[in-house]
Symmetry: C2
Subunit: 250 residues, 2 copies
DNA sequence: TAGTGGTCTAGACCACTTA
DNA sequence: AAGTGGTCTAGACCACTAG
């Protein structure tokens, strides 16, 4: 014990990041346990010879990572990793799109009269017209996901070829697509393939599946597009970590 | 058009938060669309009469919310809402625990010889002993989740009554439980009830289910506990929003 | 009252992008 | 060269907590 690591002013890693990492390491080593108070910001300023703003920034990082929690007037305390803090993202779904071996086959892309269900999702009249796009996403030749999407028909913005390939799906993920969109709501639930979906994917109806549903709105809060990804449950597992980021890796 | 809103110095809402909100509103109104450049930080300083650090803090907030993105040397740009940015949390699962009508029944809590599967998860010898706890979580009298957990047996830390009730599960979620834990890994996947699980929950085997699996490690990177929640899929839907936080809410 | 985090000021220098 | 964000300084005042 004794000598603390110092901030390396010539490093490419900025001081605030170095300090955050050093504190993370001291927590990961068990020097500070859950509930322990970390040194005060003033102390850290003195110990590591940095300004208050720099210390504050490092501490803020730890708080955002849910590694620590600050309490005004009391101090900064170490948190224990908690299940409730976990968040899952769609990176595993996205991975299929970025994969070189992935291709997208359009099953259907045309203007249709929407079903009552689609009408209610898109908040359009029963007699109106919407664009229906249905795709099969294959990875190395094997069908993996079925994607079905309905767009409010806008005669001013014709359906172009570019909106139908892999890129259109990638844009859905990376946002490059719709500059007319304000926000989206997503749901994830477990389900089973319908007859139709199963047939498209070469599976059996009733096979376990998950469904990612997405509904995007325009700047007038009107639904603009509604769609869903359906895929075999065993092809997609969501994973995440709680506690110190990067702890226990390799 | 014309007059910008000003920062209210006497408000309870601090200037950086007010500025972030004002910018969010200007984006939500469509004044700035996806891809547009926001005013430079220097401009914002002048417009709203605040210091660079305050502007910076507001912009950082928008970046963290994935509403904007900063590019050094170029400016700050509005992002469109993207599917790939979505994250799902366990608040819907957690809700059951915080609910007043929830109770936990212990089916089993004893020291057992672990199965090979549990041995591999906890990285213990086949002949060793682990603590097995199995619970049924009921909401308003109706069984909802089955929870099965295995803890590495430590003779120094006897199993106490307090670890077996609702509180133990709440602690698992809120972290109050293990100050000896460094990090945890979680997975979420769709599955179906086994015969045993189905029997406990009064369901049929094969019914669609969610499984949340959790594996926690101690400060020596040794697995400390492994467990899983299993619940009917239609009782748990994950939802989230992308784009401007709070947009489109009631 | 002393110590803590929460916020803010009014600059500075740097790295990067664009023209 | 001019403009942008990225980082940092060395303070300040405030609100809150605890002894």
């Amino acid at each position: 014990m004794g000598a603390v690591s110092h901030i390396d002013r010539s490093s490419f890693e900025p001081p605030y990041a170095q300090l955050a990492r050093l504190l993370r390491e001291r927590i990961a080593s068990g020097e500070y346990r859950a509930g322990d108070r970390l040194p005060s910001e003033a102390e850290l300023c003195g110990t590591y010879r940095v300004s208050p703003m720099t210390v504050r920034r490092a501490v803020t990082l730890l708080v955002q990572e849910e590694v620590a929690i600050t309490e005004q007037g009391r101090g900064t305390f170490v948190k224990s990793p908690e299940l409730g803090a976990a968040t899952f993202d769609l990176r595993d779904l996205r991975r299929y799109l970025d994969d070189a071996g992935t291709d997208v086959r359009i099953l259907e892309a045309r203007i249709v009269s929407p079903s009552l269900h689609v009408c209610s999702k898109l908040a359009v009249e029963a007699g109106s017209r919407v664009i229906a796009i249905k795709r099969i996403l294959s990875s190395d030749g094997e069908p993996v996901f079925y994607h079905s999407e309905y767009l409010v028909f806008d005669p001013m913005r014709p359906l172009v070829e570019a909106e139908l390939g892999v890129t259109a799906l990638q844009d859905l993920f990376s946002g490059a697509g719709g500059s007319g969109l304000k926000y989206g709501r997503l749901t994830l639930h477990a389900s089973a393939f319908t007859e139709k979906e199963a047939a498209y994917l070469g599976e059996q109806a009733g096979t376990l599946a998950w469904v990612v549903e997405h509904l995007f709105y325009d700047f007038d809060d009107r639904p603009e597009s509604w769609g869903r990804f359906v895929g075999r449950a065993d092809r997609l597992t969501f994973s995440t970590t709680v506690g110190i980021p990067g702890a226990g890796e390799a």
